[in-house]
């Protein structure tokens, strides 16, 4: 009878193995895999769609039908469910026969000149045959289906799941320990922005800290601007990068921006000394790059040219701060039914609305000459008419210019209660994509600063095709297994005793198994560097088991339990010392940022700890049971 008390080390190993098995494959942790989005581009030559039992999500895309090009179904931010037979899925189209598209959420603008497609508010019915066509618009169909949880609860990082990863610092610099009154911050902000020749949003003044986010400002300029504002600051007081508060703010905004842009599964984290890492599976570099470098500053600018004048005066009348909520984007049509543009309706805050109304009145937008009179080119010289345009700008770039609408103009001119009653405004855009971008930018807020992807910044931009990453997953498993076989082969050759060798190679793999359990339970996203760490753990693990086995088996027969204990302790002295050196050697990688090596270091350190504390002691007990006969114990 084997006593459990004497073999508590083996019992512990078994407990850990069972626990690892449970967290790896059991319904623990990420029990609900949720939905998984698979992206299929309708552009390649050999892409075939398989749409059975799935939802097609058309995020921010335009699906054209086979009819005239104006026959457009626009589904921004909407899920379109296709029911019915989807056939002839070819490189750039799919045919829906007698089906219906059900829209959940989002706006749908449907084609008008076709009888094949009829639409109600929430559903588009397709009579006969309609081809969903994606000719010039490069449509990406996002197929949502229940996530394939995989065989295990393991999570995979960038190397093994593919997509885009951008790692970069945030653009900006800051000076801390400045002494000023909190009440002055707004004034200070304005003053510094003027000094530096940047926008007020490029400067952030917060309790003792001043940050500048523009890449055009040098340290020297910043220092002299601070001096001009009465601070005793030199160039040496200015630190590169932004403050932790700003970084957190950026991470939060970027995360919600990515979530809303329909890039499923994207994550934003900070690492090391002020770096932001954005990982988006399935996305191409340029999509992600745009999101992290565009700050999403939306502004409505009133551009006024007096009659006969050559120059215009620009006044910012609405900023993101003035907007309380946004509505669904839609098409703007002329009275004759032609599509003239896109719009994102917004509701202003009361304060913003009051200011807007006042400015519109003062600038003459509500007068008879102002309404609907936007002519940015105008006639020649003194005969030029006046022009009153509302410009939509996104990150300083003109998106669209519009005149004041007649309804809104009249309302703003006459109704004093407009700011409280119905302060709505529609922001003009030229395309659905722009309107959507404006809407998202307003909802998540603009980024205080962007990721610095210039050559002098420390950045790293990578892309892996998801299919290749998928391959790496199985290939690295093969590599690991073959390395383990090599170890097993050596162990068999050396000991030539099955009862020594078999427990040894299984203890070694048990260590990796428990380590994987640790990865699953801690939500560690596995990358190639972790795989390398796992293989390294097999190596160090077996080394230590060899030390134990040799120590116990050499020097003749183990006579008694006491002798065994003694030898076991001696072996452990060496193993412990070796484990400490490995941990010391790896620990610099845990706090110094050297590329992707953090994962390697963590896996190796945890692996060594698991080995020394759990698996290797258990191997000693196993060996004792095999070596000592019952009465000697």
């Amino acid at each position: 009878m084997i006593s459990l008390r004497e073999n508590w080390r083996i019992v512990m190993l078994v407990v850990f193995l069972l626990a690892s098995a449970l967290v790896l494959v059991g319904p623990v942790g990420q029990s609900d895999p949720g939905t998984q989005t698979e992206f299929v581009e309708l552009t390649g030559d050999d892409k075939q769609l398989t749409l059975e039992q799935s939802t097609i999500t058309l995020d921010n895309t335009t699906v054209e039908t086979t009819n005239e090009s104006t026959d457009t179904i626009v589904a921004s931010d909407a899920d379109i469910e296709v029911e019915g037979e989807v056939a002839e899925r070819t490189n750039s189209s799919a045919r829906v026969i007698n089906g219906s598209l059900t829209i959940t959420g989002g706006t749908v603008v449907t084609p008008e000149n076709t009888t094949d497609i009829t639409a109600t508010e929430r559903s588009i019915a397709i009579g006969g045959e309609t081809t969903l066509h994606a000719e010039n618009s490069n449509v990406t169909l996002a197929l949502e289906r229940r996530a394939d949880a995989g065989l295990t609860n393991l999570q995979y990082g960038f190397d093994l799941s593919g997509g885009t990863r951008i790692r970069a610092p945030l653009a900006g610099m800051h000076a801390t320990d400045l002494d000023f009154d909190q009440n002055q911050s707004a004034e200070l902000n304005r003053q510094l922005a003027e000094q530096l020749g940047v926008e007020p949003i490029d400067v952030r003044v917060r309790s003792g800290t001043i940050e500048v986010f523009s890449q055009d400002v040098t340290r020297e300029e910043f220092a002299s601007a601070l001096q001009a504002s009465g601070f005793d600051a030199t160039e040496d007081d200015i630190n590169d990068g932004v403050t932790a508060a700003t970084r957190e703010n950026v991470v939060e905004i970027l995360q919600s921006k990515i979530d809303r842009t329909g890039l499923a599964g994207g994550t934003v984290t900070t690492v090391g000394d002020g770096f932001v890492v954005v990982e988006v599976p399935n996305a191409e570099i340029d999509e992600v790059r745009d999101i992290v470098t565009d700050r999403g500053v939306v502004r409505i600018v009133a551009e006024v040219r007096e009659p006969g004048a050559n120059s215009t005066t620009n006044t910012t009348v609405i900023t993101g701060d003035d907007i309380a909520s946004t509505g669904q984007i839609g098409q703007r049509t002329s009275p004759s039914g032609e599509v003239t543009g896109w719009e994102a309706p917004v509701t202003l805050t009361e304060e913003g609305a009051q200011q807007f109304q006042q400015q519109m009145q003062e600038l003459g937008f509500t007068s008879a000459t102002g309404i609907g009179n936007c002519d940015r080119t105008g006639g020649p010289g003194s005969e030029r008419q006046g022009s009153y345009c509302l410009l939509t700008t996104l990150d300083g770039e003109l998106v669209r210019s519009n005149g004041m609408g007649e309804d809104l103009g009249t309302e703003l001119g006459a109704n004093e209660n407009w700011p409280t009653e119905d302060p709505t405004f529609t922001i003009g855009a030229s395309s659905a994509a722009q309107a959507e971008e404006i809407k998202i930018s307003l909802e998540v807020g603009s980024l205080p600063t962007n990721l610095d992807l210039s050559e002098d910044a420390e950045n790293d931009v990578s892309y892996i095709q998801p299919s290749l990453a998928e391959e790496f997953k199985s290939l690295s498993l093969i590599t690991g297994l073959l390395a383990w076989f090599a170890v097993a082969g050596m162990v068999f050759l050396r000991y030539n005793k099955v009862r020594v060798a078999i427990p040894m190679i299984f203890t070694a793999i048990a260590e990796v198994f428990i380590l994987l359990g640790f990865a699953a339970v801690s939500g560690l996203a596995l990358d190639l560097s972790h795989i390398a760490g796992l293989i390294a753990v097999i190596g160090t693990g077996v080394d230590d088991l060899i030390i134990i086995a040799d120590e116990i088996l050499q020097q003749g027969e183990v006579a008694t339990g006491r002798v065994f204990q003694n030898r076991f302790r001696k072996a452990f002295w060496v193993i412990g010392a070796a484990a400490v050196t490995t941990i010391i050697a790896m620990s610099p990688l845990t706090f110094l940022s050297v590329g992707d090596l953090f994962g390697f270091a963590i896996v190796t350190i945890v692996g060594v700890l698991i080995g020394v504390l759990i698996t290797r002691p258990a191997y000693g007990d196993i060996l004792r049971n095999l070596v000592l006969s019952e009465d000697q114990r």
Binding site: D159, I285, R289, L453, S454, E455, D456, A457, E458, N459, D460, V461, S462, Y463, I464, Q465, L468, L475, S476, T479, L482, A483, F485, A486, V487, G489, M490, V491, R494, N496, L528, S529, A532, I535, G539, T540, V542, I546, I547, D550, E551, Q554, Q555, A577, A578, T581, T582, I584, A585, M586, S587, P588, L589, L592, S593, V594, G595, D596, L597, T604
Partner: protein, 294 residues
Amino acid sequence: MVEFDVPEIDYDRYSNRQLAGPPLAVLGFSLLVLVVYYLLHGTPVPLGFDFTGGTELRIATDAGQSGIREAFDAPIDSIRPVQGSNEYIVTFLDQGSSSAEAIKSTAEAAGFDVQRTSTRSAAFGTTNQQNALLGLALAFAGMSVFVFALFRTFVPSIAVVISAFSDIVIPLAIMDLLALTGLFDINLSLGTVAALLMLIGYSVDSDILLNNHILRRRGSFYESTYNAMQTGVTMTLTSIAAMIVMTLVSSILSIPLLPDIGLILVFGLTADLMNTYMLNLSLLRWYKFEGVAR
């Protein structure tokens, strides 16, 4: 069944000088190689794009290497074919304006299927260089302090530290020699840095084992040595076997990172066999028979 036994070496036949000579000569030669390489190229080892900045692409094309060279305006540093496929890994070390996207779109315009791209800015490479160097120095210093604290005597401790130092220098010198002769190109990458750190751990294992047997056990010097060798050589050979397999398999399958780690460990562990059982052993023998007596 084949069986391997660790041979019992008749150390009595060799003087300490004869034992320590070859490893020290190899160490000296390796340091010389690093210096020569530094004088020729400005860095002690060939740096990969992790440390210089640049772009690495993995593309699939039937155009072949000449087709790839024609397609890009940016200077190509190297093209490595992926075995058993029409894929190539193309590296640009140019630190100019050619961004990842520019290179990627050029590749796509030329009809290549871009499977993987990675771009690191020069500044990022510089930080990696500094941190990797600092990390190695910290790890080495930490290990040295620990070893000294463990044995509390100078000669056995310094023997371990010198062995570990040599284990790191020799693989680096092999990298230089391979690059200088143009036989094979391994650049210092993040993977090789990880391997060098790993090497500190692996290398010290067998040294500690040897010191422990000789200094803390009863029995004759040669008996203890043989016992320690039996265990230590098995350990190192097992690790070398695992690493050879990992290197071969992962390079055939074209998995990044793993071949670099594997290859450096194979070189380093092989060097460790020599350093432990010649250099370290001779120092211990001197200490045991002459040093203690003094």
